[in-house]
Every structure is written in structure tokens, then in C-alpha cells.
């Protein structure tokens, strides 16, 4: 694995002195500096990149966070914030000369306001824990990244996480109302407010998805929605990928915004079916899963309409889940797609491009051509509703040259996404992984503007150095998410 674009330009840091100073601010057990204690923090969900931090700190109060960053600011020590570390782009990869600031102890739900449908939570609260806590009130938090049982809301904000239900319910940026951040100078800022908007520039939007580059998130106010009365899922099989893509367009053209709309191609279908026996039609070229939710009346009307549209669009088979168990079975295969592919190949490399959906047939055709050219198989899973494509390249890292071929192939796929008007990352973030592809996405003027924004918050570049925005002279190499022998960094998590 090539080295990430992490500048090592910080002055050499007197580690014992730094640790001593940190121990003045925190209880001894909250400052970790021994190699074996630092090991758990050496990577996030992108485990191909590993780096021990100089020291890890686990503050419990906002005041402690402020004191830590103030100290780091004074001594010009890099600071990398970390939530659960489930991210897939290396956004929480430590800096070799820096402090790894874990927010794991910030795990309290501070208040649930059922009148305003808001919850004020600390950044270390798990995504799913919010929905679970508010379920007794008939409410839930809509964004549901696949790692939702483990990932934390602070990380969700830093990455602007999505999920299966984005098309209808939006991303993290659409589902939060306020933030508290600590700046690199140690100042606590309240962003957003009591109402639906706030005066001045929309810092809430700017901070969301900023990958820990602009501030440390210490509190999040999330919006809650009433649980839908009912949800129903349909499964449709197609003997042609282009027809499946067209069916997606036809559903939307009919004025229906499904809660979830997912596509898998034949290699993905077969891998999933062999793994979890979801009952998918193995011979189909593509399947679509379409979930509609809402009131009873609305769901009934939409199921009826969607069935007809799918059939008219050339589906060879359309099934509607008869009960909750079947609905779960339909989803099971889709949710098991990543580990299923991990079973049939020693390693795979997960891409995360978004494309305008009309180009899907062309993009899949070109990926298939590239697959032959590079001699590497590909399985495609696709958040079809919002155009977010996850091609999984199958390879074997033990075969000489295959890793390099995979990286080259992956790079071509991302370039293809950009060429058809899409993006290099739909939901996993840039982190260290796609730092170089940022140069395919943006010109130097845009990158310079990003650096100016960064400097407005963090003049010395101490927050998460080397991530998210490449320096102007580093624009060549390609990064990757590598999974060895099907071992995901978080094997217990569903990845989809």
C-alpha cells in the first residue's frame, strides 16, 4: 500500500513532555501512550492504512476537549478526532506526530424533545442508539448508514453519512439542526440554533462532511421523524441491467419517491444467494428492491403502482413481501452483499462513486470491459435511487501484481464516474483513501479555495492533517479499500 498524503512537516514533538502536559489535564487512565494501548487506534474501517498516534486521549467533558486542543495548538501538535472508527476512507487514521482525540466517552443522550422532535446528543452516541432511545415516542432518526449499530453521530456529521433511505429522507446534513464544535484555538462555538435556520453563513452545512478538518464536534442536535405507519418492499428481476435502470426512472417519473431503491447485478445476486439464501432469482441479470413507506393508504396505493410499473418496464418477475419475515429476507441478501463477495474472493476492493443514473448502462458496460482488460471480476451493488454505485473488484493480494492491477482498475472506475458527470465519493468520504482522486474531481482553483476555507478555521493546519483535500502538488496515486480474505475490519457490521 502506498503512503497516504500525510505531511510530516510538523516540528518534532517532545512526546514525554506532551504526555506530561496532557496528564495535567486528564486523569492518568485517559491518556494512552504505550504502544500496546495505542494499537486499537492505529486504523479505522480502512484497515489497509495503519499508523500509531503519538498519544491517544479520551476526554469526558467539553472543557477537557478545549484544554487538549488549546495545548496542541500552542505546541503545534496535530489533532485527529475519532468516533467509533468505522469510517471506510481512513478519515480517522492517526497522525504519527499527533494526538488521537477519541470521543468515545461522549456517549450520553443529553435530551429528547418530543415537542420539537429533536434529540441533543453527545458525538459518541451510536447512530442506532438514537432511534432506539426515541422509539418509545414513536420517533426515529432517519439516516441509517450500514454501520449504524456501531458508528457514532459525531462521525456521521463529519462524513455527512447517508444510508439506504437517503433519496427520500436525505443525508446527515438534512437531518441535524445544531452543532457545538471546539475550534483548534479551543473556543466552543454553537452552530445552528433553536429554529430551523440561523443567521449568517450556513456553517452547519459547511461543517457537515468536513471530515474533522475544521473543528471537533462535541454536541449534535438531530431532527427526529415520526415512524412511518407501514413499510412494504418489492423485489423485481430483470434479464437486462439497462431495463432495470429504466424501471428505476419509471418509478420516479410516476411521482413516487421510494424509501429505498437498491439494485444488484448477477455476480452480486449469485454471491448473496449462495451466502444467505434470500430466495433471489439466481439467473436474473439484475434485481431491484423497492421499499415504500408512509401511511397505510399511501403504501397500498404505491405498492399497486410500483408493481405495475416494474412489470411494464420488463421485469421478468415481481414479488411483494407478504409479511415482515419475507421483507427481512428480501433485504437480507442485499445487506449481505459485501461479506458474500468476501466469501468468493480472497480480497475485494470497494468503490464508492456516484453517477447520474441515466449513464448506468454505459458505466456498467465500461466497467465490464475494464474487468476483462484487467482480468479481474466485479460485482455491482447500487443505491439505484440516488445513483451511488459500489463496484466490488475481486482480487487476490497474494498473486503478484494483482493488487496494483486492482488499484489501477479502481482508479479507472472513479475517473469514469467523474467523466459521466458523477463523483469519486458518494458517502464514504475522501479521507486518505481518495485524496488523490480529488484532483480528478476538482481543479487547482477549487482546491485552493478549499485550503482557504480550511485556513479560516485552522491556520496552522493542525486538525486532521493530510486528509480530505490534497495539496496541490500531490495528484497522482490512487487509493483503495482492501479487504483481505473476506475479513472486514468490523466483521459484525452489515456493509451495504
Amino acid at each position: 500500500m502506498h503512503n497516504p498524503d500525510v505531511p510530516a512537516s510538523f516540528d518534532s514533538i517532545d512526546k514525554p513532555a506532551l504526555v506530561r502536559a496532557l496528564r495535567q489535564l486528564l486523569p492518568a487512565e485517559s491518556v494512552l501512550d504505550r504502544r500496546e494501548d495505542l494499537r486499537p487506534y492505529e486504523c479505522d474501517g480502512l484497515s489497509a492504512y495503519r499508523q500509531l498516534p503519538l498519544v491517544t486521549v479520551l476526554p469526558e467533558t467539553v472543557e477537557q476537549v478545549q484544554a487538549i486542543v488549546r495545548l496542541c495548538h500552542q505546541r503545534r501538535v496535530p489533532v485527529v478526532a475519532r468516533g467509533a472508527g468505522t469510517g471506510l476512507s481512513g478519515g480517522a487514521l492517526p497522525h504519527q506526530q499527533g494526538v488521537l482525540l477519541s470521543l468515545a466517552k461522549f456517549s450520553a443522550i443529553l435530551s429528547i424533545d418530543t415537542e420539537q422532535c429533536l434529540a441533543r446528543v453527545q458525538p459518541g452516541v451510536r447512530n442506532l442508539a438514537i432511534s432506539q432511545a426515541v422509539a418509545p415516542h414513536g420517533l426515529y432518526y432517519a439516516p441509517d448508514p450500514s454501520s449504524q449499530i456501531a458508528c457514532t453521530i459525531g462521525g456521521n456529521v463529519a462524513e455527512n453519512s447517508g444510508g439506504v433511505h437517503c433519496l427520500k429522507y436525505g443525508l446527515t446534513v438534512h437531518n441535524i439542526q445544531a452543532l457545538k464544535i471546539v475550534t483548534i484555538e479551543g473556543e466552543l462555538l454553537s452552530i445552528g440554533g433553536g429554529g430551523l435556520d440561523a443567521p449568517g453563513y450556513d456553517l452547519l452545512a459547511l461543517l457537515t462532511g468536513s471530515e474533522g478538518m475544521l473543528g471537533v464536534i462535541v454536541e449534535v442536535t438531530v431532527k427526529l421523524l415520526p415512524l412511518p405507519e407501514r413499510a412494504q418492499v418489492l423485489l423485481a428481476a430483470f434479464d437486462d441491467v439497462a431495463r432495470a435502470a429504466e424501471a428505476v426512472g419509471n418509478i420516479i417519473a410516476a411521482g413516487i419517491i421510494p424509501a429505498g431503491l437498491e439494485m444488484m447485478d448477477r455476480p452480486a445476486i449469485q454471491a448473496a444467494e449462495d451466502f444467505v439464501h434470500a430466495g433471489y432469482p439466481r439467473d436474473a441479470a439484475a434485481i431491484l428492491l423497492c421499499e415504500v413507506d408512509g401511511s397505510n393508504e399511501e403504501v397500498s396505493a404505491h405498492v399497486f403502482q410500483v408493481r405495475r410499473i416494474l412489470k411494464d418496464s420488463g421485469a421478468t418477475e415481481v414479488r411483494t413481501a407478504r409479511d415482515a419475515a419475507e421483507r427481512e429476507a428480501f433485504w437480507k441478501g442485499r445487506k449481505a452483499a459485501f461479506p458474500a463477495v468476501g466469501r468468493i474472493s480472497p480480497d475485494y476492493y470497494c468503490m464508492d462513486g456516484t453517477i447520474p443514473r441515466r449513464h448506468l448502462p454505459q458505466v456498467l458496460r465500461e466497467i465490464s470491459q475494464l474487468s476483462q482488460q484487467y482480468g479481474l471480476a466485479v460485482a455491482n451493488v447500487f443505491h439505484a435511487g440516488d445513483g451511488n454505485l459500489h463496484p466490488l473488484i475481486l482480487y487476490d493480494a497474494n498473486k503478484p501484481g494483482e493488487l496494483e492491477r486492482t488499484e489501477a482498475f479502481g482508479g479507472r472506475i472513479l475517473e469514469l464516474c467523474v467523466r459521466v458527470g458523477g463523483t469519486i465519493t458518494g458517502e464514504h468520504g475522501v479521507g486518505v483513501e481518495k485524496i488523490n482522486q480529488m484532483c480528478a474531481q476538482f481543479g487547482s482553483a477549487e482546491l485552493a479555495q478549499f485550503h482557504a476555507i480550511k485556513a479560516a478555521f485552522d491556520t496552522d493546519g493542525l486538525l486532521n492533517p493530510g486528509k480530505a483535500v490534497p495539496s496541490l502538488h500531490r495528484c497522482a496515486e490512487l487509493g483503495a479499500m482492501h479487504v483481505h480474505r473476506g475479513e472486514l475490519p468490523f466483521p459484525e457490521l452489515e456493509r451495504f
Binding site: 429554529g195 453563513y201 399511501e298 451511488n388 458518494g426 480530505a468
Partner: protein
């Protein structure tokens, strides 16, 4: 007027202004010139830079040049039974897309569907260095780089001259009906809080001082079921009522006194401020026609954690937008510097300091 791309000319004008160190006053259709602090500087006209550059109904994406009339965009969408779900007010004949985004103006549906900023997918801008920059794109999910596109929403042109904006559009609801209930403001606030916790297809709420108005949108069956649950009387002139409200042509807005826009936590009880009140967004947006001083209004809402904007009339040379705490103001000033180091773009329109 026909579609044309004036990007280069606009860019030259910004560069010339930069060279001469002469501030620019950016204007589209001029329909929102009443809003914000008093504009100053040489006029930079964007209205001629117009035309829808891309519209893919089945992808829910539309891109248009900033000077494109909002009415043209809405007409095009209507033909495909689609809409701008943030229901932007026009406030005049020539309203453009650029002005709407620069002001982040959103209408009655905002509390349920989202604001203008929630639908922006990408933009092309000229920054204060005279550089043409592109951010975001025409796809729903995109986390590459900082979200500059949304940052432009509500920035009042102080960070960049909008050239082109890409938006997510949505299907129009199959059915839309409205009902009105003869209840007091207090009773409405209580009722709205209860509804907010239920999966009802509500897409607009208003109390105009006389009665409560509720709009329901969705499939015919869902809307009927909800209407039965809510009760009240069917409003015959459904579209017209909400359009008049959105455009501030409702009788409430007919006044010579200052109009204040208060953004508050929805359940905030009625505030003890003299004047006429109109409630929207389930109580989260409150219009106040009042001669009360800015200081009194802002100190009255402080406990509720919201902010107050002098929306129309009154003294436009004062703090039209709520002053920010010192820390936030510093960050905003630095951001302004990052985009427009010489302060040539709409200086003073948002805050006196930049």
C-alpha cells in the same frame, strides 16, 4: 430575453472591479432588493445570464444559470408534474434562481420538505478573486470536498457571484387539499405540536391571527384519511391561499410598519411583543408587524434561542440580521476573507463588518 451564457463577461466585470478595488452590488431580477442591508457598489447585472442548462426529470435534477427566472423553472417543472419542494417565494415579477439561492428563501413547505439549501446539489460561482469555481454536481450523494454549494445559500452574494445552480427537484404530490380550523393561536400551537409526532401528510401550517390553515399532500387516500382525522372545513381556494401567503400578498402583510421575521423553536409560546402576528412552519416561523425596537425584539426572543431579521421596511442601515456572538462572527469574517479577500462582493449587505 433569450438564453445566454454571460459567464466570461461577468468574470471580466468581477476582475475589473477587483483591479479598481470598486465593490460590486450583485443583482438578478431585483425582486429582493428590499431585503438585507442597503446595497451599495457598482451594479453587476446577472439577469441576462439565463437558461436551464440541464433537466433530467427521472433523475430529479435541474441545473440553470443564476439569472434564469424562477417562473420559467417552475413552468418547466410543472410540465413534468415536478416542483421545487422548498416552494420559494418570488416577491416580484423578475425573481431569479440566483437571488432565491443567495437569500435561501423558502416557502410554506419548508418545515416538512426542507429549505432551498437542502435542495442545492452543486453550483458554479465567481469568487472575489475573479476565479470561476465549480462545487458539488448533479448527483444526490456527493461528499467530495467541503459543501461550498450549501454555504452559498443565504450568503447574500457576499462569498461569490452565483453563475449556475443544480437542484434536486421532486414530484408534485398526487393530491393536495387544505382545511381551516377556527381555533386560537395558542390552541393551534398546541395542536401542531401533537401533529408533529404523528406520521401525517402535513405540508404547511399557518395561523393568520384569525384561523388555522392546514395543507395535506400525498396520495388521495392518505390525504382523505388525514383530513378526516384533523377535521375542520375544506378550503376551496387551496393553491391560491398558500401562494398569497408565500408571496406576502395575504392581508396580514399589508402594512407600512416594519415587518420582522422570527425563526424560533416551534413550540415557543406566544411572545409578549406588541404588534400583529402570523405563524407558519408549525410555529417555527413567525412574522411580526411592529414598531418595537430591534433590541426589544431580539432580547424577547433570546430565551427561545431563535433569531430575528428585519425583513421589510425599517432602518436598513442597522443590524438587519441578528448580530452574531463574537466567536461566530470571527469565523464568518475569516470565511468572507477566504472567498473575497478584497471585499468587493456585496459588502455590507449581510453584516456591516463585511
Amino acid at each position: 430575453m433569450s438564453d445566454q451564457d454571460l459567464s466570461s463577461r461577468l468574470c471580466e466585470q468581477v476582475c475589473a472591479a477587483l483591479d479598481a478595488q470598486r465593490p460590486l452590488r450583485i443583482q438578478g431580477g431585483g425582486s429582493k432588493s428590499f431585503y438585507g442591508r442597503t446595497p451599495s457598489g457598482d451594479l453587476l447585472e446577472v439577469a441576462g445570464h439565463r437558461g436551464v442548462t440541464h433537466y433530467a426529470p427521472t433523475e430529479l435534477v435541474l441545473s440553470a444559470r443564476a439569472g434564469t427566472p424562477l417562473a420559467d423553472i417552475e413552468q418547466l417543472l410543472r410540465e413534468q408534474r415536478q416542483m421545487l419542494a422548498f416552494e420559494p417565494p418570488h416577491y416580484g415579477e423578475g425573481a431569479t434562481l440566483g437571488g432565491t439561492i443567495a437569500c435561501n428563501f423558502s416557502g410554506p413547505r419548508r418545515a416538512w420538505a426542507g429549505a432551498a439549501r437542502d435542495f442545492v446539489l452543486g453550483c458554479r460561482v465567481i469568487n472575489g478573486r475573479g476565479e470561476v469555481l465549480s462545487f458539488g454536481g448533479e448527483v444526490m450523494k456527493n461528499v467530495a470536498g467541503y459543501d461550498v454549494s450549501r454555504l452559498m445559500c443565504g450568503a447574500m452574494g457576499t462569498l461569490g457571484v452565483l453563475l449556475e445552480v443544480s437542484l434536486k427537484v421532486l414530484p408534485m404530490p398526487e393530491t393536495e387539499i387544505s382545511v381551516c380550523l377556527q381555533i386560537s393561536e395558542q390552541e393551534a400551537l398546541r395542536q401542531w405540536r401533537a401533529w408533529a409526532r404523528q406520521p401525517l401528510p402535513v405540508t404547511a401550517l399557518c395561523h393568520d391571527g384569525n384561523q388555522c390553515y392546514v395543507r395535506l399532500s400525498g396520495t388521495a387516500g392518505a390525504v382523505d384519511a388525514a383530513a378526516r382525522r384533523i377535521g375542520g372545513e375544506r378550503l376551496a381556494e387551496n393553491d391560491r391561499f398558500w401562494a398569497r401567503l408565500r408571496e406576502q400578498r395575504h392581508a396580514f402583510f399589508d402594512s407600512a410598519r416594519p415587518l420582522w421575521r422570527l425563526s424560533l423553536a416551534a413550540p415557543t409560546p406566544a411572545l409578549p411583543l406588541a404588534g400583529k402576528w402570523l405563524y407558519e412552519w408549525g410555529g417555527a416561523l413567525r412574522w411580526l408587524v411592529s414598531d418595537t425596537s430591534a433590541e426589544s425584539i431580539r432580547s424577547a426572543i433570546r430565551p427561545a434561542g431563535g433569531h430575528a431579521t428585519l425583513f421589510r421596511r425599517g432602518d436598513r442601515d442597522q443590524a438587519v440580521f441578528q448580530p452574531l456572538p463574537a466567536g461566530l462572527m470571527r469565523v464568518q469574517q475569516k470565511l468572507k476573507q477566504a472567498f473575497d479577500p478584497h471585499g468587493i462582493l456585496n459588502p455590507g449587505r449581510l453584516y456591516p463588518d463585511f
